[in-house]
């Protein structure tokens, strides 16, 4: 309540100050009233108070300013927004980003909580998905370079996620818990780390794209997998190297991660890369893409760790048990075994895994 009162007082003060400032500065800044004031001043013997508004109505002048009336010095000529004093779209953006009322913060928080809740529920009801006994025979699933790239992305993603969520949720959720002083420290730390690690994330993501593209294109077997509910509720769902869920994650990570990277760079270099509208749009896309990617990653992390037995091993050691592969990626296993039978693959496999 106190903050709201404080906010409305501040807003009232601004709403009085801003027009007052423009009224005072108008003759100096614009050609609109200023020129006329000079003309009429020269024509009269007794100048009297200058006619700051000329013969035009307030509404007309504000209308001109909103549309970027020419001849205005601020922002300076040469900048992408020269000539525009008022940015009306900024109001819409401010509404969306108001920390207390923002739908992004509101739905974002509920969305992430809902996903977490569903995962807990699924774990309690279904438990970890297994694949029967281990066969004792192993097969290479991820090469060393794929494993390093994967964990590098994951590591930086978690860092970006934690710092980014602190920035997004800090004011409404963290500040009331830890107070202004600690919150300000947390936020400057989070922002600096977020800005520095952003380009590293973009670079690693590029590596992820290159290393995991093969096998992530859609195929007919995805439909069968979907019809079988992915095998999550019992039964066997056929899949190639990656199943439909994994493909969806890969493309979400690439597209949302790509959007995060591009919009992130725009916000890192706002003066060189963007107008205010582009920055506003970037900020919105950035927040939404982050929430989508974090939400999806919760499911991915669940399935990659406690959700499916034996999966994590593949991304750590590189090898999975053949029965794991038979249960989760039977088509891929068949292909690999065929290749191995046809000769050199087994040798190559053993060497690559080392």
């Amino acid at each position: 309540m106190a903050t709201n009162k404080g906010h409305s007082a501040v807003r009232l003060l601004w709403s009085l100050l801003i027009p007052a400032f423009f009224l005072m500065a108008m003759p100096a800044l614009t050609g609109v009233g200023g020129l006329r004031a000079q003309e009429s001043g020269a024509a009269q013997a007794d100048p009297g108070p200058p006619n700051t508004l000329g013969k035009r109505s307030d509404a007309e002048i504000w209308h001109d300013l909103r549309l970027g009336a020419g001849g205005i010095a601020n922002p300076p000529t040469g900048s992408p927004e020269a000539g525009s004093v008022i940015n009306s779209e900024g109001w819409e953006w401010a509404k969306l980003r108001n920390p207390e009322k923002s739908p992004i913060v509101h739905y974002g928080a509920w969305g992430l909580l809902a996903i977490l809740g569903l995962l807990v529920l699924f774990y309690l009801i279904r438990g970890p998905v297994g694949h029967g006994e281990d066969s004792g025979r192993r097969i290479l699933r991820f090469r060393l370079s794929q494993r390093i790239v994967h964990w590098s992305v994951a590591f930086v993603f978690i860092l970006m996620g934690l710092t980014g969520l602190s920035i997004l949720f800090g004011r409404p959720f963290i500040l009331p818990l830890i107070g202004k002083e600690a919150h300000s420290i947390l936020l400057t730390a989070a922002m600096q780390a977020h800005n520095l690690f952003g380009p590293i994330f973009a670079l690693f993501l590029l590596g992820l794209f290159v290393h995991f593209l093969r096998g992530n294109f859609p195929s007919l077997v995805d439909i069968k997998w979907l019809l079988k509910g992915g095998g999550f509720f019992g039964g066997h769902a056929p899949a190639g190297r990656y199943n439909l869920g994994e493909k969806a994650w890969f493309w979400t990570a690439v597209i949302a991660g790509g959007a995060l990277s591009v919009t992130g760079f725009i916000m890192l270099f706002p003066d060189d890369l963007a107008t205010r509208n582009t920055i506003h749009l970037s900020e919105l896309i950035h927040a939404i893409a982050a929430l989508v990617m974090i939400g999806f990653s919760l499911g991915h992390i669940y399935l990659g760790t406690i959700g499916t037995r034996g999966t994590l091993k593949g991304m750590v050691d590189g090898y999975v048990d053949e029965n794991w592969a038979r249960a989760h990626h039977d088509r891929w296993l068949e292909e690999e075994l065929e290749k191995a039978e046809s000769g050199d693959q087994a040798r190559e496999t053993a060497e690559e895994g080392a």
Binding site: S145, T188, M191, Q192, I200, V316
Partner: protein, 216 residues
């Protein structure tokens, strides 16, 4: 005395002294504890062998030039080390600190973008190299807890430094400094000593190989 004053005063002196004293002690031990003379007749020059290994190991082994792993280690290794040394010795806040506490460095600090970029190179290298210790079966086998502590401490020192980049908070500055001091204390007793010992270990291996008429 506030905690920050303690960190900037007595604790800084204490940790820096431990670092200097024990690192010097280890180097002296390495250099002056004699080894038993090799008795076999030398088949080649130990000196040339040492020189070749000290310089040659800056590049991947020729037989591994086609190997992606060798390139990864080389590029990530340089990225981390060069990034770290640039930011350590040329970033404005460090130059200022070193000038105030240790020695009047004769060079000007690099611009801020250079600082950030070198930190990014350092982080990218350190993260990939450290993660490799977990997922490469061979490197995992030869990694000791000390290697992980050394990498982890270095990472956390760099991370807190990066978090303090806003230069707005005494707490963050103190956190970074405190961890630097912990790092300094850990340094002489750990694999971080390779900062100083690498020429000796390379030289020794190279000299032994040179003496036998082989290459290290």
């Amino acid at each position: 005395m506030t905690l920050l004053e303690l960190l900037e005063g007595p604790l800084w002196i204490a940790s820096a002294s431990i670092f200097v004293a024990f690192a010097a002690f280890r180097l002296i031990v390495i250099l002056f504890t004699g080894r038993r003379e090799a008795e076999a007749r030398p088949a080649g020059s130990p000196f040339l062998g040492a020189l070749r290994t000290i310089l040659g190991h800056f590049l991947p082994w020729r037989r591994l030039l086609g190997n992606g792993k060798a390139w990864f280690v080389t590029i990530a290794g340089y990225s981390f080390h060069i990034g770290l040394f640039v930011l350590l010795l040329f970033a404005a806040p460090h130059v200022e600190f070193i000038r105030e506490k240790i020695v009047n460095l004769p060079w000007d600090p690099i611009p801020r973008w250079g600082f950030i970029l070198s930190a990014q190179f350092a982080f990218a290298g350190l993260i990939t190299l450290w993660l490799r210790r977990f997922v490469d079966p061979v490197v995992r086998l030869i990694s000791r807890p000390d290697d992980h502590v050394a990498a982890g401490l270095t990472f956390i020192v760099m991370l807190t430094g990066c978090m303090a980049l806003g230069e707005q908070s005494a707490f963050l500055r103190g956190l970074h400094l405190g961890l630097v001091e912990l790092w300094l204390i850990y340094f002489p007793f750990s694999s971080l000593m390779h900062t100083f010992t690498w020429p000796f270990s390379r030289g020794f291996t190279g000299a032994m190989a040179g003496r036998r008429g082989t290459r290290a």
